[in-house]
Symmetry: C2
Subunit: 491 residues, 2 copies
Amino acid sequence: MPHEAWEQLSQQISELDTLAGIGGLLGWDQQVAMPSGSAGGRAEQSELIGRLYHERLTSPRLGELIEKVAAVTNSTLEQQAAVRNMRRTYRRATCIPSELASRIAKASASGIAAWSEAKNRKDYGLYAESLQANVDLALERATAIDASRHPYDVLLEDYDPGTTVEDLRHMFGVLQKELPSIRQQALERSGPGAFDERFSVSEQLALHQDVIQAVGYDITRGALREAEHPFSCRVGREDVRIATHLHERDLLSGLAATMHELGHALYEQGIPQGPGGSAVFAAPSTGIHESQSRLWENMIGRSRGFYRWLQPLFAKHFPGKNFDPEIVFQCSTRVTSGSIRVFADEISYNLHIILRFEMELALIEKRMTVKEVPAEWAQLSERFLGVRPKDDAEGVLQDAHWAGGAFGYFPSYTLGNLYAASLYAVLGENFSDLEHCVENGDFGSILNLLRERVHCHGHLYETPELLENAVGVRDHVKDLLCYLRERYTTP
Amino acid sequence: MPHEAWEQLSQQISELDTLAGIGGLLGWDQQVAMPSGSAGGRAEQSELIGRLYHERLTSPRLGELIEKVAAVTNSTLEQQAAVRNMRRTYRRATCIPSELASRIAKASASGIAAWSEAKNRKDYGLYAESLQANVDLALERATAIDASRHPYDVLLEDYDPGTTVEDLRHMFGVLQKELPSIRQQALERSGPGAFDERFSVSEQLALHQDVIQAVGYDITRGALREAEHPFSCRVGREDVRIATHLHERDLLSGLAATMHELGHALYEQGIPQGPGGSAVFAAPSTGIHESQSRLWENMIGRSRGFYRWLQPLFAKHFPGKNFDPEIVFQCSTRVTSGSIRVFADEISYNLHIILRFEMELALIEKRMTVKEVPAEWAQLSERFLGVRPKDDAEGVLQDAHWAGGAFGYFPSYTLGNLYAASLYAVLGENFSDLEHCVENGDFGSILNLLRERVHCHGHLYETPELLENAVGVRDHVKDLLCYLRERYTTP
């Protein structure tokens, strides 16, 4: 009964998705509304939902259903995708012995604790040992999943299935070669311009509410709130929310945060729903997800056309305050020297990522010990960015990823920039004057193209195929360099 | 291994409580933050959590653990309470065949739908059939639980274990006899006084934030937000939240709503935690819970002393607006004639409840058919309240309780008033000048007494024993009549 197996598999996935949505709500509430004293109880709630999810994901029954559907002849594209995606998810969940899973969870928790302490005291030494433990466990996990492949390739698959060390070496190699000179030209070009008035946070939030809806966010299936850190998250089948972080003295960084999360949320809202749930209808990779956030945050959200469009809306919320689109553009595309990734400009950002990629690859390949990390970090930082971190807190301790055990995540950020650049190039080819289109607030046409080329396909295809369908055969590195040169080096 | 059984039972109850907290968060978010388009997905999430809860609650393993702990000799007070309370909960959940449970759930859902339609069209006829179905199912359920007792006693146990039809008949009989004359005197005394300026909702919310914290609400373990209907709910082990509903033109009804929910929330925050979870540490009855809300909303929250205390806080949030404590007191204790329970004054409210008790008892005892309900309602309303509803929407269709299948709930409201009156009398005996104590904002002393006498005992005792420990042997009816006479008939 192949049809029945598909219905049962869909039902199982649907229940997993329902649990994931509940977990999403627990996380959303935790960051947006939860009182400080409630952390202990919330941790128990999240742990329980995670445990129920894991029990269902690793149940032999699910494995049997996947194989039953796999055996169907004349299966649909959706069924084939569900089998391919669920097989991988199921396998990666079940091939980790529970004893190893438990050690990983503990090392992640104590890694975060050690990192936090080390960062506060600016002392890498307090953290080195737990970093080593996390590196070792990542390797052990990669081996348990597939001992025949490069362990970093196996780890990358957590985020960007289909991308390999070889791909990254090639693309990042060209970027590393080309970006510094673009960066240098942009540094020399950067004008003074300032935009540092005070803007009330509640008025900013009202402005952002208008912006996200004008761009195409469906507020009847989501919400915008403020939180300590920006994020977006799915809290249910038809509910994708955005949390932004606003600064009274920095209107532009808050706007960038909202536009970034908006890109993620528009993607999630644009993915259709149907039998097979998230095994069919979800982003195929972190890199693709990031391409949507980067496209709206940077390519569109930092353009002259966007600020021209924004001017009257800004005036509505901040009557009497000055907003010169050209000055705002200059401010938001200023290139600076700095050690911190999250404050980096669009060009330097990729160099920060390549640095981290080189470092984590060397750790995983055991070409570098944890003891050598700070010196190597400083040296690469000097080479790539022309600046040495003034202490460990501004160096390796600035990111929490490794502390939590996430190796292979960083490349997704630059993959997102690369894919976004190709999508932006295609947008440029499809609209006679894209800048004008943005200036007129015709975001619907842009969003429609993204919906048709990317969102509506969910995870029917893996990233390389999805991308080729979306933009044709293109050199993403060339597209990114071209975009950066145009925006940052032409007057 | 008795100790082990107790640990295991505690663990099972703790997981049930964790699921209940997650269900609480789903409900809270639904009413406070959820976008309109997300209702379908949220229903699935709530259904899943409800199903997981029910599966665990009815598992034979839980039944075995309860009996293992029951067999322990020299058990603690907590263990005895857990056994007594969990046995009842377990039995009431497991003795309903799943086929009957399913019919009840369906009749409840379609009852609410029919009621909503009937209320909109002011046509009881559209609802009568589903009311009959719910009455029949309530009877069937009561019989399945315990065929040897009066079915209404069995239903009452859902809310107020320990209270019987006989108890209610006795107490409500005296109230029904005495209240009308108090009401008549209060009606004649009511002065003009008006307090109907406009007050911005966000300013009101800020005022209420100050009020609840001054009274003793721990904001680090809760939150206050606005919603369409006021409610309070536990969303986690250390997280009890309040939703209020504010009206720009009606400062006093919003304040009453907040004070009411505050009473519930202070109680929940005051119940300790420990092994045995909610089987030991929870309210023993809806009536006791309601006593806490009524005490803060009415006895304290509508007193002259309270408004005198509130005056400077009001002035802080509404500078320039007039707030005369005596006028506010007159407005908030005005007695009026009306058909609607939720708008009723403190005296009439109990007559509304007695009307409903008489009606639902007659339905359950089959002394009245659903066809006779509107005429009987009108007649009792005239007799008790001196007013006939102008249509069905203002009569039997004003409440949703029966539509959802809840019979035996209404009495809890008046039980709450009765218990609150005795607690208030004891407060009066313990503080040389209670009104003065309130006027000085010494809410801590009042809350401490409630904590010691009520909150800290959780469900160690059943309601009658808890009450006797808290207030001694008292006549609650006499206490309520005394309180109402003093507040409403003395100048």
